[in-house]
């Protein structure tokens, strides 16, 4: 029972955070709220029995992501958002997609259902044979590193790509001052 209550309360907190991130105009404060938001998400992951995901979300979402956002704010030095307008088409679209999702969700097996196909499928094999076949008691690790190790290689490639892209965008290139001035003119004159 405790987990259900925790689940609902945390979700409500999360919704409050999301709404306030949407509406707050002070960007620095938004970054703080964003950190809180992912902290709550991580706690929620834990309540939903996913400690590894909670671990990652806490490190990556709360830590890196928030710090990156703060760093962006610190570099740009912009702290206020302009007053936003209500966007009717977007509102309409969201209602539509949300309605569609709610309709689909009624067909989904309820939370924690034993009979859901997801639990009967591949996952069952992982839980029953995982330790025997890979020798790792943490099934998530076993699947991540062995059964679906190629995804993890892809993940590494994604990080690498992201790093290369950020370097390409921000790396401080050795440029003599005169060249830099020329570059600036080139960038702004078109």
């Amino acid at each position: 029972m405790i987990d259900v209550v925790l689940n609902i309360v945390l979700l409500l907190f999360l919704l409050t955070m999301a709404v306030s991130i949407l509406f707050i105009r002070h960007l620095m404060a938004m970054a703080m709220l964003f950190g809180l938001y992912s902290l709550l998400t991580a706690a929620l992951f834990l309540v939903l029995d996913a400690p590894d995901v909670a671990f990652t979300e806490a490190a990556v979402g709360t830590g890196i992501s928030t710090v990156l956002m703060l760093a962006t704010l610190a570099i740009t030095g912009i702290h206020k958002e302009k007053r936003p307008k209500i966007h009717l088409p977007a509102l309409l679209l969201c209602t539509l997609v949300g309605g569609l999702l709610v309709v689909i969700s009624l067909d989904l097996p309820p939370l924690g259902d034993e009979q859901s196909p997801a639990l009967q499928g591949v996952a069952k094999h992982y839980l029953e044979k995982g330790k025997e076949e890979t020798g790792v008691p943490n099934v998530v690790t076993a699947v991540l590193a062995s059964y679906r190790g190629f995804d993890t290689l892809g993940e590494v490639a994604v990080i690498f790509t992201g790093g290369v892209c950020v370097l390409m965008l921000l790396g401080h290139w050795r440029q003599k001052p005169s060249v830099k001035v020329k570059n600036k003119i080139r960038i702004t004159s078109r």
Binding site: A50, I64, K82, L93, L111, G112, A118, V166
Partner: protein, 124 residues
Amino acid sequence: MESVLDLVLGHFNYWAVIALLMIGLYGIIARQNLLKKLACLSIFQTGVFLLFISWGYRHDATVPILAEGFSRYANPLPQVLMLTAIVVGVATLAVGYALIVRIHKAYGSIEEDAILEKDQQEQE
């Protein structure tokens, strides 16, 4: 009455997450501030992560780390998928932030409509 309560309790997670998704989607489309767009994109992605983890949840079960005295474990596969997806999401966000820094350097603003206006003026 009983069944309605069951339905609500069993699907509350999904609905809350759907609400999160829609808040994110609205922000992505409607907000002009690029940083806010990215934050909303992140909310949207986190919503999807929560959705997956909810699908992997199992009543009266424990975390999928095999141990003595436990026999029911949560579904590990969605967790594995989300581990990958979280990292992918952050890599994308990092590139997005880098782009914002560059855009700010080039235009002096991070409001989309202001930037477009500057481009318009330049063309005329």
